[in-house]
């Protein structure tokens, strides 16, 4: 896109600047006693307007020589010859237009184009074009820098997203070692339960590995992951941990980023259920409405203020991740009352049909 021709405001400023230049030329001609005001203006304004269009073409000359594929000598050569061509064309026009005016209005005082004046016109045309070339070149350079910055910001966003994914898919060492400890305890108490727990743990990690690399998975897959995770946690926490799922059937095929629900359950246990001597029930509600997928997780928390654990970092991360994926097309909000914590999120309802 041409920076001047494609922008109405810039174009107006540009044209006005050239009209002033035309007036200035006329003023000089009058001052040098070469013509009277009316003839000088009649001559200089069209010539200046032609000059403005001629000069704007310098942009395309600069564009044709990208920075990374130009040598100094070639650039100099191209710029010099372009300026030369421009100077000659302008000179030719000045000469021709003067002739036309003289023929058209014979009684008007004629502008005598001395060789000196012609050389002056040529040099002006040459110099102005060269300046324009340099100005456009600087403009393009700045534009390139801005563009590079934009790209860098975008790639940073993507990189952070990838990093978050990796972070999330990393094994929580507490979970792993405590689970292994539970298995170790179960071997002597209940061998079948020990085996069940080993398998649930293996299934959970295998699935984590399988989905962590994917950009989107179906809600059904995520729910399966949660099931395996909860199977392990239920053995660890026993009757303390209750979970109620309420998932609308038409929501199950929704495509969601992997591991958005499982970490929430993990949080609900870590910061909620675990702190309650009698435990509690985590409620998960998922439904689809008006092309939005709504997910809500509610869990009881201890009312004692000293027990508020965590710093909301995980939740801010989730918000950032959603922002990177959906822009402002997704919402995450949470609120804590005295004895309850509720997290709600809404994301665009996406489905794939070719499964």
């Amino acid at each position: 896109m041409h920076p001047i021709l494609s922008d109405r405001r810039r174009f107006m400023v540009y044209i006005i600047a050239w009209i002033f230049t035309g007036v200035l030329i006329a003023r000089l001609l009058v001052a040098a006693d070469l013509a009277n005001w009316s003839f000088a203006l009649l001559f200089s304004l069209p010539v200046a307007l032609f000059g403005s269009f001629l000069t704007s073409s310098a942009y395309f000359v600069c564009r044709s020589l990208p920075f990374n594929r130009r040598s100094f000598s070639i650039a100099t050569l191209v710029f010099a010859s372009a300026a030369m061509v421009s100077g000659i064309s302008w000179l030719g026009l000045c000469y021709g237009w003067n002739k036309v005016l003289v023929l058209a209005a014979e009684e008007v005082e004629v502008l005598h184009l001395s060789p000196h004046l012609l050389v002056l016109f040529f040099i002006t045309g040459f110099a102005v074009y060269l300046l324009a070339l340099l100005a456009f070149d600087v403009y393009i350079a700045f534009d390139n820098i801005r563009e590079a910055e934009r790209r860098e910001a975008a790639s940073r966003l993507l990189a952070r997203d990838a990093e978050l994914q990796v972070l999330r898919s990393q094994i929580d060492p507490h979970f792993l070692f405590n689970s292994l400890n539970s298995i170790s305890a179960l071997t002597a108490i209940d061998a079948v339960a020990a085996r069940t727990m080993t398998i649930a743990l293996a299934d959970f990690f295998r699935q984590t590995l399988a989905i962590a690399e994917k950009e989107k998975i179906s809600l059904k897959e995520e729910l399966l992951l949660c099931e395996n995770f909860l199977a392990v946690e239920k053995i660890r926490f026993g009757k303390k941990l209750g979970v109620e799922f309420e998932v609308a059937a038409d929501a199950e095929q929704a495509q969601i980023p992997p591991m958005i629900l499982q970490p929430l359950l993990e949080n609900a246990i870590k910061h909620g259920i675990r702190n309650l001597p009698k435990g509690g029930v985590i409620k998960v509600t998922i439904f689809q409405r008006d092309r939005w997928l709504h997910i809500a997780v509610q869990n009881p928390v201890s009312a004692d203020p000293g027990n508020s654990t965590g710093n909301g970092l995980g939740l801010s991360n989730l918000r950032q991740r959603f922002f990177a994926l959906y822009g402002d097309q997704a919402r995450v909000s949470w609120q804590r009352t005295d004895d309850n914590f509720t997290l709600e999120m809404a994301l665009p309802f996406e489905q794939t049909y070719h499964e």
């Binding site: 507490h174 792993l176 405590n178 400890n181 108490i189 053995i235 926490f237 702190n275 654990t309």
Partner: protein, 252 residues
């Protein structure tokens, strides 16, 4: 030894406690006198039963194992266990204190038990000292106060404290609309709070009042040289002349 050693098991996971019980079966000279599910229960049980040996999990909700020790003043006869806690483990290694990493074997358990027994029989001063310095280090990182009031243990975050009031031989800590009683002098608490590295700042505005700067709403002049501090909670605290001199530079 003519008396069986009494053991208390502290872990928030039932299966983990059962594993300890199983491993202890190989040691008939030990007697399990109690199991605790939370740090608060442990504080209570340690005070009540004074066990010879405590199997203490570090990572527990509400109160961590280290906070249990801090509250009870218990410094010896403890075997620590943890699944994973980078920071705690670093501290333990630094002070050469033994601990069990979950899951652990019977052999490793017996070894830790053997060490603990030896220390119980002899002079345990080095370990006590190591633990003492570890806890001092840890408590600097914990911007909260542990209060035992009327048989109950409370964890009060420092930032929630509005003011502390000295009574006859105890203090009343007012935090988030509640008040807690503690047998300690105001001067003692003041030094303790000063050593905290958190963002909470307290000022002694009166012989018997300590207020948190961030809880202050305004200072009001009531007569020629007496002031009253009005807190955001609405409470009005008398400010002595010396107290005013202390608080003035902090308000600019």
């Amino acid at each position: 030894m003519n008396k069986r050693l009494q053991v208390l098991i502290v872990d928030d996971e039932e299966l983990a406690r059962r594993l300890s019980l199983e491993y202890l079966r190989a040691h008939p000279d030990l007697e399990v006198i109690g199991e605790c599910e939370t740090g608060l229960e442990a504080v209570d049980a340690i005070g009540r039963l004074n066990p010879d040996l405590i199997l203490l999990d570090i990572q527990m909700p509400q109160l961590t194992g280290l906070e249990v020790l801090e509250m009870t003043g218990r410094r010896s006869g403890v075997i620590f266990s943890t699944a994973y806690d980078q920071y705690a483990l670093k501290a333990f290694d630094l002070h050469a204190i033994d601990y069990l990493l979950k899951p652990f074997s019977q052999q490793r358990f017996d070894e830790a038990l053997g060490k603990a027994r030896k220390l119980l029989a002899q002079d345990a001063a080095p370990v006590t000292q190591a633990l003492e310095s570890l806890l001092t280090q840890q408590s600097e990182k914990l911007p909260r106060l542990l209060i035992r009031d009327r048989g109950q243990v409370h964890v009060v975050p420092l930032e929630s404290i509005d003011y502390v009031e000295a009574q006859d031989d105890y203090i009343l800590i007012h935090a988030a609309g509640k008040s807690y009683m503690k047998t300690q002098s105001l001067a003692e608490l003041e030094t303790q709070l000063e050593s905290q590295k958190g963002s909470s700042k307290f000022v002694r505005v009166h012989r018997s009042f300590l207020i948190q700067i961030s809880a202050l709403q305004a200072l009001e002049k009531t007569s020629k040289d007496s002031q009253v501090a009005i807190l955001k909670s609405g409470a009005q605290i008398p400010v002595s002349r010396a107290g005013y001199e202390r608080i003035k530079p902090l308000l600019s």
